[in-house]
């Protein structure tokens, strides 16, 4: 089996119902005060980049989804995760 190298980017974000005081502060105390009142909401999060080897792109994504859930890399009580980008390492 030939394995390839992949890079997967994951963003963890608080669920909409869980307040995000970091995002709120950026919007209220920085953006709104500096004239960017067209920005109605800011949400902060955590960003992780995984480098891994897998048989194919699908497998790579499966591995990451599995470890996110199994090891509680994201906390399902408060967070959602989003896989942003998946690319083969050049």
């Amino acid at each position: 089996m030939i394995y390839s190298e992949f890079i997967i980017e994951v963003v963890l974000e608080n669920k909409p119902a869980a307040r995000d005081p970091v995002g709120e502060t950026i919007r209220r105390d920085l953006l709104a005060k500096k004239g960017y009142d067209m920005v109605s909401n800011v949400r902060s999060g955590q960003y992780l980049r995984f480098y891994l080897s897998a048989e194919n792109e699908k497998k790579a994504e499966e591995i990451i989804e599995e470890l996110l859930n199994k090891l509680r890399i994201f906390n399902p009580v408060t967070q959602n995760f989003k896989i942003l980008k998946l690319q083969k390492e050049s």
Binding site: K15, A18, R19, R72, I73, N75, T78
Partner: protein, 235 residues
């Protein structure tokens, strides 16, 4: 029979020695400080996960510690009804280990908060509150950056009487001003359905001697007396 309690020591724990001091010298019971890798549940009647930090609290406070072998040992105690208590960082570890419902998020002030607050007893049938009365108002300090309790299904938590302590003012009212960190429903401590596992953000070990309290109180003792009483009733 002599009660023996373990206080776990994770890399970064810093309320471990305070907790040991109070158990040994104020409550006068035997307590061992146990490095997390060497913890064996069979030697103890109860365990306390103390405050501080654990493994740098990278990713989220408590998540790395929640995967440590010490938590597998503590799970055996949890399942056979011995008290498993988490204070501050210990509470964060117990929610991440799913011993307790909910999660602890960054304070809504975005700052570390270290100050004396008041909490009111809501449930006095747990391993960390059974020597208290419902409605008791206790002086106790907090010291944390991630103490904002959050849970999606608050109703279920209330229906199951799992809220043990809430931040209140001196009249026992649950106001916004008396809620230091933005916790949902002023929640300061919760328990599991079996009442033997409790997580609590404030620090009873810092409030057990009147000389340490600005108001001359020593309400923190009641938490540890409760734990000892709970163990003695089981034995």
């Amino acid at each position: 029979m002599r009660v023996k309690i373990a206080v776990l020591d994770f890399p970064g724990s810093n309320c471990d020695l305070d907790t040991i001091h109070v158990l040994n010298n104020v409550i006068n019971i035997k307590a061992d400080l146990v490095w997390h890798n060497y913890f064996k549940e069979s030697k103890y009647d109860g365990v306390i996960l103390p405050g501080g930090f654990a493994f740098g609290d990278y990713l989220r406070a408590g998540i790395i510690a929640a995967h440590s072998p010490a938590i597998d040992e503590a799970r055996v105690m949890l399942e056979d009804g011995r008290p498993v208590i988490g204070i501050c960082n210990g509470f964060q570890i117990l929610t991440e280990a799913q011993f307790l419902p909910g999660a602890l998020l960054q304070n809504d002030t975005l700052t570390f908060i270290c100050k004396w607050v008041m909490v009111k007893v809501e449930n006095n049938e747990t391993a960390f509150s059974n020597k208290m009365n419902i409605g008791d108002i206790l002086n106790i300090p907090i010291a944390h950056a991630e103490g904002r309790y959050y849970i999606e299904n608050l109703k279920e938590l209330e229906q199951n009487n799992q809220i043990v302590f809430r931040y209140s003012n001196e009249n026992g009212e649950y106001t916004k001003d008396s809620n230091p960190n933005g916790s949902l429903a002023n929640i300061a401590g919760v328990c599991n359905l079996e009442r033997n596992c409790i997580g609590f953000m404030p620090h009873p070990e810092r409030a057990s001697e009147s000389i340490l309290s600005p108001k001359g109180t020593s309400h923190g003792k009641n938490f540890f007396y409760s734990m000892v009483d709970f163990i003695q009733k089981r034995l």
